[in-house]
Symmetry: D2
Subunit: 479 residues, 4 copies
Amino acid sequence: MKAIRTLAAVLALSAGGAHAEQIALVGGTIIAGTGSPPIERGVIVIDDKRIVAVGDRSAKIPAGARTIDVSGKFIIPGLMETGVYLVGDYEPADTLIRYEGRYDELAIEGAQMALKEGVTTLVGIWGPRDDLIKARTLIDEGAVPAARLYFSGNVVGYDGPMSVDFLGDDAGMAIETFEPAISRTFMDRVNKRFTQDVGSELLLLEPGEIRQRIHAYANSGVDFLALGLSAHRPWAHQFSVFAPTTQQLIVEEAHRAGRLVVGFSAFSSQAIDDAVKAGVDIIYNCDFSVGGAHSPQMVALLAKRQIPCAITPNTDSAEKHYRQQLRGTEPLLPFIDGMARNDQALIQAGAMTLMATNGALYSADTFATWQQRGVAMSDGQTLKVLGSSHFWWLQAAQEKGMAPMAALMAATRNVARAFRLDKDLGTLERGRLADLVVLDRNPLEGAENYRSISIVMKEGRIIDRDALPTQKLLTAPAR
Amino acid sequence: MKAIRTLAAVLALSAGGAHAEQIALVGGTIIAGTGSPPIERGVIVIDDKRIVAVGDRSAKIPAGARTIDVSGKFIIPGLMETGVYLVGDYEPADTLIRYEGRYDELAIEGAQMALKEGVTTLVGIWGPRDDLIKARTLIDEGAVPAARLYFSGNVVGYDGPMSVDFLGDDAGMAIETFEPAISRTFMDRVNKRFTQDVGSELLLLEPGEIRQRIHAYANSGVDFLALGLSAHRPWAHQFSVFAPTTQQLIVEEAHRAGRLVVGFSAFSSQAIDDAVKAGVDIIYNCDFSVGGAHSPQMVALLAKRQIPCAITPNTDSAEKHYRQQLRGTEPLLPFIDGMARNDQALIQAGAMTLMATNGALYSADTFATWQQRGVAMSDGQTLKVLGSSHFWWLQAAQEKGMAPMAALMAATRNVARAFRLDKDLGTLERGRLADLVVLDRNPLEGAENYRSISIVMKEGRIIDRDALPTQKLLTAPAR
Amino acid sequence: MKAIRTLAAVLALSAGGAHAEQIALVGGTIIAGTGSPPIERGVIVIDDKRIVAVGDRSAKIPAGARTIDVSGKFIIPGLMETGVYLVGDYEPADTLIRYEGRYDELAIEGAQMALKEGVTTLVGIWGPRDDLIKARTLIDEGAVPAARLYFSGNVVGYDGPMSVDFLGDDAGMAIETFEPAISRTFMDRVNKRFTQDVGSELLLLEPGEIRQRIHAYANSGVDFLALGLSAHRPWAHQFSVFAPTTQQLIVEEAHRAGRLVVGFSAFSSQAIDDAVKAGVDIIYNCDFSVGGAHSPQMVALLAKRQIPCAITPNTDSAEKHYRQQLRGTEPLLPFIDGMARNDQALIQAGAMTLMATNGALYSADTFATWQQRGVAMSDGQTLKVLGSSHFWWLQAAQEKGMAPMAALMAATRNVARAFRLDKDLGTLERGRLADLVVLDRNPLEGAENYRSISIVMKEGRIIDRDALPTQKLLTAPAR
Amino acid sequence: MKAIRTLAAVLALSAGGAHAEQIALVGGTIIAGTGSPPIERGVIVIDDKRIVAVGDRSAKIPAGARTIDVSGKFIIPGLMETGVYLVGDYEPADTLIRYEGRYDELAIEGAQMALKEGVTTLVGIWGPRDDLIKARTLIDEGAVPAARLYFSGNVVGYDGPMSVDFLGDDAGMAIETFEPAISRTFMDRVNKRFTQDVGSELLLLEPGEIRQRIHAYANSGVDFLALGLSAHRPWAHQFSVFAPTTQQLIVEEAHRAGRLVVGFSAFSSQAIDDAVKAGVDIIYNCDFSVGGAHSPQMVALLAKRQIPCAITPNTDSAEKHYRQQLRGTEPLLPFIDGMARNDQALIQAGAMTLMATNGALYSADTFATWQQRGVAMSDGQTLKVLGSSHFWWLQAAQEKGMAPMAALMAATRNVARAFRLDKDLGTLERGRLADLVVLDRNPLEGAENYRSISIVMKEGRIIDRDALPTQKLLTAPAR
């Protein structure tokens, strides 16, 4: 499998713009994300975009390098957050209406909020392809400072955000419910902007036509493919979107085009099983399971084969909140419980977990709506917000029993490896891109220490965190 | 595969009751349902419950036999109507509420309305097992005159009538919509009465547990098993209820218990394909296909392997009605069109079709409701009513191009063969049970002639048609 | 104003049936309901249906009288409960469907449950006239033992139970919400059974036509008229049903026909004001007020003019329940608070209050539904049930500050006076009908003592309480 | 009553900006709107903003005046369109969301579309006060070319556009229906922007507080007051918003502040009667009547007292459309019929009618929505659009029997008189503002001739019609 996108080409794009600089971070504890023990009083030398040396205090610092004393601090790789929704504020529909034509700006705002808090790479699942391409280009060209974007565009087989596939998961509401309030033409338009010919209509097509569409989509500028596993509609989570043979066909076609395939929304053990057999590369929502936790066999299989498993553990306080607020909505609570058990089992079994947060940005109006519905906690522990979503993930992973070093790797190296980006990203090693975070306190001594950010560097540039976001749309205060 | 139910045992039950009689029907045209040419001026001799002779005028008539002159008339086997809902009036819920505790009486009323119009055997798909057993027993014992019942009880994998699986197929409504109007406890109760441990909860169980439940259900008094193929919920018809491996397991377990398996609601070619591979014996709704008609390959497969295919063709005027009334409800019209094309293709390819009508009884209130919703035509061509549903089927089959003799066999012998009842039922041959209908006009010259009923005989007894139904519940006039 | 219904005629009807008996209750404390101090160790002598003597131990007991020793016990007048719904189980609609054609039996069952617990007279507001007439006749004739019935039939100006006037007061649901679940024809039918030409269609008629219909209705067998004051539809409680001039016209026409007029559902001070000006005789829901409690002036007016005010105070624990369960449903809580303040104010000001309970019978299914919705408390403190509704009222009145003797009179003499029945009912005085209850404990020492029933007597007959109800329809246990 | 707003002050504002010019329109037929016969080959002389001479060809034309030959053409006063919604595109809510903060621009766009087609004055009923003030100021100052605005802001007693008062008149939908799709915080915000302390909360306030609020609102920059007569909520149109005494109080307080009062939404004869008694100056929706047409007495009263009656007649083809599309929605059709009968009766009786159109601008999305719902005709005959709404009104008035001259006056002088603006507007007379339209064809020979616009002049300036609107928001083509 060839590399997903040629980073070289991207780097070439932006190389010309800024003056190449040499920087030496001196005296900090380096936690390289490789699993090796931290290097105390270490040195990292950066030349332009890349790390050229990592070592202890004996490492040689080039003359002319700008030296930054980080004694007493801790250096970790830039975090890689997956499972985010770069245009994810779709219900209520206020945001999609208000910013129609400007979705790229929303994606950039999210990527800035993440970068500000130490996330240098975002892996977006599900979003409007063309807007994301526009955002990615602006970021790659250095036109705006923001986390690097990787994304899949649509989830193959799912309809758009204003469809039964995304509305009303809990309450049985559907497109009809929205029609009095929102014009159908808008809903159709935004759905098409997301689905781009690989939506739920695929379910009705012949294999040949499906192949053709997957081929076209895989070559249309997306970084990888996301494939819908379980149905994403009310009451239908037990059903598989595609028959096993069709899944195989889609994976085959995506691989032929040089794209990895992420299996999305595995709501049952059966769905994971099918996905693995079909050759899916990475499984998202590995910890979801309608109707009881995964069997020990399933957990053992995932761990043994080291299949990348993206999980979204809840913090203990989020779980408590769900239990209190959502009693009565029966199908949800067993699901929350099953997720907790799956997370613990996967962690204990040593599965290769990836930090997947469901992070997104939400307007003040949306956030208020979900608080009124009893779902959102005010601090973002339940409705996850980019800029804090990774902190809560690391907190939750710790609470579910994940070792500190394992958690760091789930948020860095595992992601890089799963997406075949590990030559450039994920660890602090010679030759890697200089994405890193300097913390005041030791992240291995408590997940809350990830919040003690001193410096964020992306591709060798120190980020002016106070300047982010450069434009406040969704992050504007309540009107 | 052994016989589904021991007719012998049943017959033994009722033998004692009535005095055995010999009857000779003399002078009519015998259309035996075997595919052979009609016998003109023929003779059929019946001794007690069975046919003892079929022949031309030279046949010997026993002394003491009661001779009935049917010159100029036409004798056909008693019709076998499948795909009926013996307790099918569930939406609106008035009927299920009003007659709670008396569902067996509703089933009997339906079986009487059918018998009155020449249907001597009804094959019921989906219904409350224990009530149907009660009704079947009363009929088999001769306590009430009515069409013979065969049934499956619940459709394995489907929830009950007051669930998302049966409510609101068109409009996206669901259980929540009903809660203000009807008590949840009633809905739960009636759902359980239908599902009997083989409902949608199966989707969440382990294979071992599923086997156990199927085994128990197959041995609980049902005549055969109905297995849900495609999901029966709003927007989810494309999804399969069970994974292929689970389907196989269910079929295997049913066969082990000596029960045939009917695959129910095949909403796509894929679903039929899976069902055939899983070893399903008979396929219902073979002419349904969401998203376009079946491929020629699929049609050819069904025809070639002579897999029993139950179809529900619409009359031309019903189709016209749907086109006029239901425009705007987009998903429905292409479905109607696809069904028409499937019916024509299956007929032309010579598939082994069975007369499946969706017939049921409805209260005047229900009927009015569906007329207001633009679905029911006043004469029962769209919302099919037992007692006329078979007439409309025969009319529709003729309009879709089925040859007269083929249509008769689809309504008699094919059903008997598919359900392995052909030693006793389905044709006018020596040794068969004396289920027959005498018509004034030739049914091979026009489907409307099936309405020209002169005599209905079931198991050798001439039915007093005017006395049916013996109790008017659903057939009572509007209040 | 002439007497509402000729009790004499009624009594004549049943007189023949049973042998006239003389009974003497001896030794109990008599609380006559007149406001006078209790008579200790008193004697009450009953001859056939009436009280012939009330006095202390010196009273003369006729020879041949059956003497019952009630020493240490307490004798009060039979309770008169108003504001009850004799066919009140309408949402969910299960009950109205299940018992269509048998509503009279439901009314009798309610009247039996009430009688069993000491209520000898029920004043029903709102119900299907013809069914209530049938029930009343059976009771009056002595065919079934049950509390005596007075009723108004429909509330003039309101539509039936399956209409926007009665469905969905809290949640904005309406007739459309019910249509998928229940047939429209049934809903229309039951609505007409209640409205009887004096429903909401009156709002669109000319004065002359309104007069005509009121005249006809007032003479159709109802005991008095109930007139809708405030609109009884979602979000419209602030609006008046009829313009002031139309109200006057209706009252005038009812009075001309010799019928009292009860003003029903006064949701605002304005509505009470209008009703008083229009000459309405009795005001129900005097303690309701959308948007804040009544002004002191309004309370003073009602008290000063001693206008009969039917109130429905909540117990403290019911209020607590509402506060806990219904937070979030904003319009309801201020309403509950306002009602509490109104009750306290009216009691303190010495208004002439009547015990109005909203009591009705509900099926187990209905009760479960309202418990699931968080409204019904299991013991009937919120969804009031005949047989206990009066106990909760007396409890609530005590908690809201009503003096024990005043509470007893609100439940007896005040009702009799308001409805001009005080020559026969409401007190234990010579000449009155012998409706009485013997209690083991003193009701003036705690409202809970009303539950300590020893004997219930109606019209001189001791009731076999264990035999009630004689038929269990709504009081049958959960299926 | 003093003048509503000092036009002098307004004129002074803009006088400085543009160079004063003299113009003479020569040779056209002048239809002055006074009811006098047209002047053929007439002359109108304009000096700066006002008409200084109107006469036949003998009139003296000042030297230096710019002379425009309009021979063969027809000159009428600038049209005055009332009953328009300057921010009226509220359902579906797309527009209110998309343009939050820019409602003034929407109002200006509407006023430009109207001006472009000959409407020089718009009288807006119901809208967000502060946005309308902003728009009016920009127009009055000459910053943007657009029709002159008069408006009332909120309708006193009504809640905002995202409330039960405006949503779902036909289908019983309400605020709850919108909550999944739109954030509650947005809905609350937009409602407050419209209601400005004189919304439905008034219904719960004491008289003193109501007076205070009306006083404040009347002095807050609105041109007149609109008072809700009938309730504007589903199923409640029969009810009056305010009790008669409260209506009087509001009118009194408005008059005290020098503001006329328009009675809005009179859904019944009773409502008109109350309004007239309360001293309301102008009645809108005079032709609405739920439950049958107005009585002859009512029509006679309105005509005799020449109370200004704003009516909204439908064209014959719109009525036909309603009949075809909306059958089944029972309450609507009798309403349409009643309106037609009321319009004809009022016209025949010689009532003082005003051209009220319900005109507004709608986005392409909104328009498509209402077409899908079967309400909007593509040419704007049913969902009325500013820029054509007045043409359809004139067409409908002609079809309902209004004489051509009467129709012109209903669209000009009557409006000016009703709103006490007739010293400046409404006719082509010396001293009036030079608002006029030059038509190619005679409007008295057919209403369609109002479309044959040659010149639109407002306050002496010829409008560059091609430049309107200056910004396309709602008038942008479908995306």
